[in-house]
Assembly symmetry: C2
Homo-oligomer: 156 residues x 2
DNA sequence: CACATAATGTAGCTTCGGCTACATTATGTT
DNA sequence: AACATAATGTAGCCGAAGCTACATTATGTG
């Protein structure tokens, strides 16, 4: 799915500035990673929310999901379809949305991640409200490595 | 604005209780903020990169931008058009891309933000490489409030 | 039970960020 | 100067996520 575009460019590139190529590749890889993370961020938000609704009220209905996310119910339903396609959720018409095993697993990971990020931000002196708000965006971009460092930091 | 932590509320509160609306609105606002931040993240990446290229080699050409970002040159050109539309950059055909005053201002802010995020991550014990990589995604979601807390943390 | 209302689902449109393929313009070599 | 090549630009497609408008199905109240 990514681009086999530059491999050809690399071969055809004049070798005058040889030190730039690795830096370019590293940077491109980083940007690419950030972009694909952004792509799954929405799925993660939905799964996290559905898990919360299921735990809290026992059911996750499209209208509730839409309201919590601040989107129209049509948008929510469409995205839920994508969740189903990707094997994270199931839904029976007029019966609410449920998480598959994979979905539950993802929800648990995201919940732990979210708490860790919030706790670290608070530990750094960020006001609780800002920490909660910023974590919503940050949590999708925290690697396992960074996550472990966060854990170690909080245990000290 | 209410200071509810919705995930905690969901666990603590019995189903069907009132007082759900403010929490919903707060949560929707947070998600909405994260989404719009994600929308401007690409613009910020482009502006930051263009500033880097201009500072480094004196010119920012679409092909270089595309290669650094790991996208096709056509995609880069199209996004640069959006940059122009939004008043962040200018470009003359075959002459490269330049930043407007607004673009330069944004680039400076993003550069400072990037450094701060990386420095904080490193200070927390994140390996330099992971810090650099994660910061690429995180920096777009750090509010001014959190940024100031980061600064205070680093000065102590 | 009937019917009004709320929830859910469907259709169709828009913008954005990707891509490939093709067209055009500079550039540089001979 | 001519031509090959690299850079740039354009066109058209796709999928994702958003919206509104409309259709359908449950629900609940009189």
């Amino acid at each position: 799915m990514p681009q086999n575009h530059w491999s050809q460019n690399m071969k055809a590139k004049p070798p005058g500035t040889a030190m730039e190529l690795p830096a370019e590749l590293t940077q491109a890889r980083r940007f690419g990673k950030a972009r694909s993370a952004q792509s799954s961020a929405l799925m993660e938000d939905y799964v996290e929310l559905i898990a919360d609704l299921l735990a809290g009220t026992g059911e996750a209905r499209p209208t509730d999901i839409a309201r919590r996310l601040g989107v129209s119910h049509a948008t929510a339903i469409k995205t839920i379809s994508r969740l189903k396609r990707e094997g994270l959720a199931t839904a029976r018409p007029y019966r609410g949305v449920f998480l598959t095993a994979a979905g539950q697993e993802l929800a648990a990971r995201m919940r732990a991640r979210h708490r860790l990020v919030v706790d670290v931000l608070v530990a750094l002196g960020v006001p609780a409200e800002a920490a909660e708000s910023d974590a919503e965006g940050i949590e999708h971009h925290v690697s396992e490595t960074t996550l472990r460092a966060f854990g170690r930091f909080l245990n000290s």
